[in-house]
């Protein structure tokens, strides 16, 4: 075991390999407040990557309804139960990570789902906490609540899958931090399936290998966002590259949302993987639940988001989400316009905070007609 620094925990922790951060780290922000659980992301992924034999049950990308939804069944609940002493002191995690609480002789505290755990992938869809009674009136925070959690591989800084692989067949790409299972070398021992707390590695019984989300690296290599981002009609997602906290730049959308505004938070940071998909927590759900999932910054993030109406930079960036296929690495706002540019500094997108209203002349002299909204 090595000692590595995990900024999400505010401390060093144990990990199987020494710290070796990539040149840059693929990262993403998902705004749960915009997610509509349409599953377009799921289908974009599935029709692109996992429509083969042996992959039927696999959802590299899935969307589950919290709190009653989980895919595979109870994946998070089971691990939360197994992991003791999940305590924060301010922003510092004082409990144990899944690496630190690994049983003797194992590298990671984990469990392996049974085949039946992958059944009912949309269990809990739209099921709310607490029973609704006749005459309910809800205002924020909602007494009855659920929210949608879209999940892909977190391309963690400290992947549990990678650390658990006995063959060293899982690696992190230096150029973008994307974590891959080498399909040539994997022999299907499923240690990674067991180790990943998010259960985002899947065993393929036809190929005898384990597979996972590849962050659509063939697209990322071309400067284009992954399938589940481009197809996201809730426009909840933005892909980019995240700096280390001390190197954060205000014009980098990822840095701005994660490090500067701290409005986007990791999923289950207490597990210790330093996951790189960041979630804007749902503003209508209870803080206690959000904190359990997204860590101690949940309350502040919810407040920041609710104040976006007074924060044009934040509102502007959130309106930029999903408007371009390109990976936007820089953004700026001027007045009602927000623009994004790519790695080379070329502007790839410019949109207004408010979609324009057009009032056309009632009489169209050229075509000799009178325009009307109900013709």
């Amino acid at each position: 075991m090595a000692r590595v620094f995990n900024w999400q925990l505010g401390r060093e922790m144990s990990y199987w390999y020494p710290e070796a951060r990539p040149q840059r780290q693929f990262a993403a922000v998902f705004d749960t407040n915009k997610c509509i659980a349409c599953q377009t992301c799921t289908l974009a992924c599935k029709t692109t990557w996992t429509s083969g034999k042996g992959q039927e049950y696999m959802l590299w990308n899935n969307v589950e309804t919290k709190p009653y939804g989980s895919y595979p069944l109870a994946y998070d609940l089971k691990l939360l139960e197994m992991l003791n002493g999940q305590q924060w002191n301010g922003d510092k995690y004082e409990g144990q990570t899944i690496f630190e609480s690994a049983p003797a002789g194992e590298r990671v505290l984990g469990w392996r789902p049974e085949q039946q755990d992958y059944a009912y992938p949309n269990v809990g869809e739209d099921d709310c906490a607490n029973q609704v009674d006749a005459g309910a009136f809800l205002s924020i925070p909602h007494m009855n609540w659920f929210f949608y959690l879209a999940r892909i591989c977190n391309h963690c800084t400290y992947p549990a899958c990678l650390s658990s692989c006995p063959r060293g067949s899982i690696y992190k790409r230096q150029e973008d931090g994307i974590v891959l299972v080498d399909q040539g070398r994997c022999r299907g021992y499923q240690e990674c399936v067991r180790a990943c707390p998010y259960k985002k590695v899947f065993y393929n019984p036809m190929t005898g290998t384990s597979e996972k989300c590849i962050a659509c690296f063939p697209k990322i290599e071309q400067g284009i966002q992954p399938q589940c981002f481009v197809n996201c009609i809730g426009k909840i997602r933005l892909a980019g590259f995240l700096s280390k906290p001390e190197q954060a730049r205000a014009d980098n959308p990822m840095d701005y949302l994660v490090h500067i505004k701290k409005v986007a938070l990791p999923l289950f940071p207490q597990f210790g993987l330093e996951p790189n998909v960041y979630y804007i927590p749902p503003i209508h759900a209870p803080v206690s639940f959000n904190r359990q999932l997204f860590g101690p910054g949940a309350a502040a993030a919810m407040k920041t988001y609710r104040n976006a109406m007074n924060d044009a930079d934040l509102a502007g960036l959130l309106c930029l989400f999903g408007s371009t296929e390109a990976v936007v690495t820089r953004f700026r706002r001027q007045g009602d316009l927000v623009a994004g540019s790519d790695d080379k500094g070329a502007e790839v997108i410019r949109v207004p905070l408010h979609e324009p209203v057009y009032q056309r002349p009632a009489v169209d002299a050229k075509n000799q007609l009178v325009r009307i909204n109900c013709p």
Binding site: F137, L138, H142, G168, Y171, L180, Y305, M309, E355
Partner: protein
Amino acid sequence: MKNGMERRDFLGMIGAAGFGGLVASTREAWGLGAVTNPLGAYPDRGWERVYRDLWKYDSTYTFTCAPNDTHNCILNAYVRNGVVVRIGPSMKYGEATDLLGNKVTHRWDPRVCQKGLALTRRFYGDRRVMGCMIRKGFKEWHDAGFPREGNGLPPRKYYNRGRDEWLRITHDEGAKIAAAVLKNIAETYSGAEGKRRLTEQHYDPVTIDATEGAGVRTMKFRGGMPLLGITRVFGMYRLANSMALLDAKVRGVGPDQALGAKGFDNYSWHTDLPPGHPMVSGQQTVEFDLHAVEHCQTLIVWGMNWITTKMPDAHWLTEARIKGTKVVVIACEYSATASKGDDVIVVRPGTTPALALGMCNVILREKLYDAAYVNQWTDLPVLVRMDTLKYLRAKDVFGGEVAQLRNTTVLAKDAKEPPPIQHTRSFVSEAMRMEWGDFVWWDRTANAPKPLTRDMVGKNSNVQNPLLDDAVEVTLADGKKVRCRPAFDLVSEYAAHFDPKTTEEITWAPAAAMEDLARHIAKQPGKTLIALGMGPNQFFNSDNKDRDTMLLAALTGNVGKIAGNIGSYAGNYRVALFNGAPQWINENPFDIEADAGKSARPRQYWKPESAHYYNHEDHPLRVGNKLLTGKTHIPAPTKSMWFANANSILGNVKWHFNTVVNVLPRIEMVAVNEWWWSASCEWADIVFGVDAWFELKHPDMTASVTNPFLVTFPRTPMKRVFNTIGDIEVQALVSAKLAELTGDLRFNDYWKFVREGRTDVHLQRILDHSTNTKGYRFLDLEAKAKQGIPALMNSRTSPKCVGYDQVTDSIPWYTKSGRLEFYREEDEFIAAGENLPVHREPVDSTFYEPNVIVSPKHEALRPDGPEKYGVRRDDLSCETRCGRNVALTWAETKQTKHPLMKDGFKFIFHTPKYRHGSHTTPIDTDMIAVLFGPFGDLYRHDKRSPFVTEGYVDINPTDAQEIGVDDGDYVWIDPDPEDRPFRGWQKDKRNMEFARLLCRARYYPGTPRGVTRMWFNMYSATPGSVEGQRARADGLARNPRTGYQAMFRSGSHQSATRGWLKPTWMTDSLVHKAMFGQGLRKGFEPDIHCPTGAPREAFVKISKAEPGGIGARGLWRPAAMGIRPKYESEAMKRYLGGGFIKQKGEA
């Protein structure tokens, strides 16, 4: 595990060796290159090309996906080796422009959804209709030369629909047979012999008269939502129009006497039309493009599950909210959209009229209304006579003639209305103008009556300081004195019954929440958008709902403004966006224009009809001695049905099982154009396999009522995968066969451009004659669409905002008074007790006496009671109930009970639409289905499951416990036994086997007690699916002969409702705008004033059928695991409370 090594051996080995040891052992054991730290470096990454190869494609092209969801997405198809391997958004919507160069932004991108992406598996799917299919018995009937019984009916032996064998024939043979059948039906049911036969078949005499002696009038054609394919789908009506040629041949009449076939309605058939909108505004529907929400201060989402049914436009809602728009959700559950609301009010289903009245009452009582708007735009100041209950007419008070109108052209008796594109203002016939007269308001300043004309709206209104809240005695020109009250006063008195406490009791909405919301929207007049959905529209009181919610909107100045408007969202419909469509559908078949550069000369021979009568056992509504269907609405008997692009008219029809068991046997031909074997195909006689969207060879066009785009279906380069032809080619082909049969070559000429591959000629004619598209060249639009770019409709505004023209330019609405009318003076409304915008209890989905008018005694409410129609007051049978006008106060109503409650019925059963299907597209695609609901399982561990998912009912967990049902159990759902699932079920075991609803139950904490829900979108059981489930080893509910895949073991969501007809939907007197253009009409018009049905009306009994565990043993697994509502393990309880995390220093 592979390689003979057990996990524990392996762990033991690496545990002993430690980190360094692992690297060494890896090298030793498997002979691989060392990987010292895969976080930092990895030796051989050449394998990554596997995924790069998977991503590669040879080419892309675009096609348009347009199920009836209003979105119309131009999608990119990615092609490899000639096969579409995946689909994605075009990302080019942000480049759309209009004729003036106005441009939208890329915030419109992406436009796509999961259903569109899944089409790859559907276009190549095993249920594609791969050619032309004909039912064996039907072919035998044709081959035998159409034998008939004495009464004209074909012998039953030929009609084993749903169970028969199918034969594959060519489209050419199919068209030939279909043409021959049409001709035979026309011959059989024309003239005196036809009348005799129909009489002996026991059709209602008024429906026989409605054939006008022409057999072609018994043929019903339908292009399902024609806006979705303005030539290929709407072409079914062109086909109907051409039946005039057949009639001319059969009856030997000339072009002046010939009649066309009948065409079924669409928007109203789908229960999408808000029937009360035309009752208030005189036109189809008030609504706004959804991105208008960017500009409002408050958004009320009311009975609309916006984020599941308007998915690509959901971001406008969530983004508006980010920028400060307050979102209020009113729903009968904690819906998906509720989770995006700032405030949520959970109400009792079917009580929207009462809730709106409750809010109006607050506003009226506290005088918070927008007085200027009320005075300028509503009939509320208009006086109503208490002797006749009619509006007081200016002529009766002041004498003289009707006023000359500036804003309305009065057409002399024989004058013809010009085509829509030339309309600059309203047209009205002289007769209607004389009938309307002018109106009167009472000027308090002058203390005298004042005349009011249609012109006096908006800035031209002279109404100032009107008498609103008191009665007045008016002296008529003849000296007679008559007591009058302003509509405002009548409405206020009625609304006063809906005080906050009463409203809370009726609707369940907390009084304080309702009052706060009313005050909130009144405080910022013109700044609230109110989006109503399909939910409230699918109840019997739908028109009450519209009139009451529009009253609320009008009182707060929220009709016709970009940031303040009301909308009803269900379906896509405004074919008037292409008001030049008559160029195509109504081209005169006796006078065909063969020059591509010239315009057609339309003449409409076909006649529209509401499909709701077919859905109502093929007859109008009679209650006691009273015919309650207006004469302009009367349907003809149905002898053939031909539809395209639609599963709703048969496979998913309301009261489906009654339709297939009791109605279909009298229909002699059911022909379907389809590319996917739907439930409708299961019940058809002939199915023409047609091209799917991704292989269209004829271009087409569509538009939307929720976004500003004019979207082209470009011709595609994709080769046809199966033996299909275009929809429009089917129509041309059957016409060619009719030409052969009749010798009339005009049948051929009518489709000349289609046969020549020049459908664009017709599309260009439509563009040239449509108000908001003239100036576009179709080929330019198509070229843009091939790049993924739509065009913008050149509407008056973008976002489109119905009412903007009226409010901005002070032009009249399409009503008699030119104002939004909340009082309805017509006889039918007075008889129904609905001259005021009242609240009726739902007709079935209520715990109380159904269909009661909730009202205390009111001077202006004088409904015709049951006795007047010769029925007993206590007769609550389903049919009688529809025309039952009984008023009770709320105090009285709440003492009553639904008549079935004594028999253990206690659940409202409603059937909304959901995110996983656009209607029934494409819910039976495996990848979509498995995510549809909680019971998806691709490996079908439980072989009882009909498919990889299955239909289920959502039930309140406490209710479920009370009836002994566990989460995940199978349950029986039984509706009113009087006539559902089908009339006569008690003695018909054979049909009951597939008709009785059997489904899973899900504990759903989001619904209040007594309210159950089943999604509308799933495929029903058929005789074949039940047979398949029994016969197949894997238990799939799949028809062995057709491959049809059901998602129920038996029954469907349509097992519990019926065809409901409401008298106020069927008047001969309601004035409204015509479908196309600015002309005014009255009485029936399809998709504007006609029945809409009430498919969310059902009151059911639920009982346990089988345990939910695999193989009917024990609990359904998630419940057993303790992760389901009411079954939570201790850990799950802790999880729900966020209890796994501690923050130091906090308790």
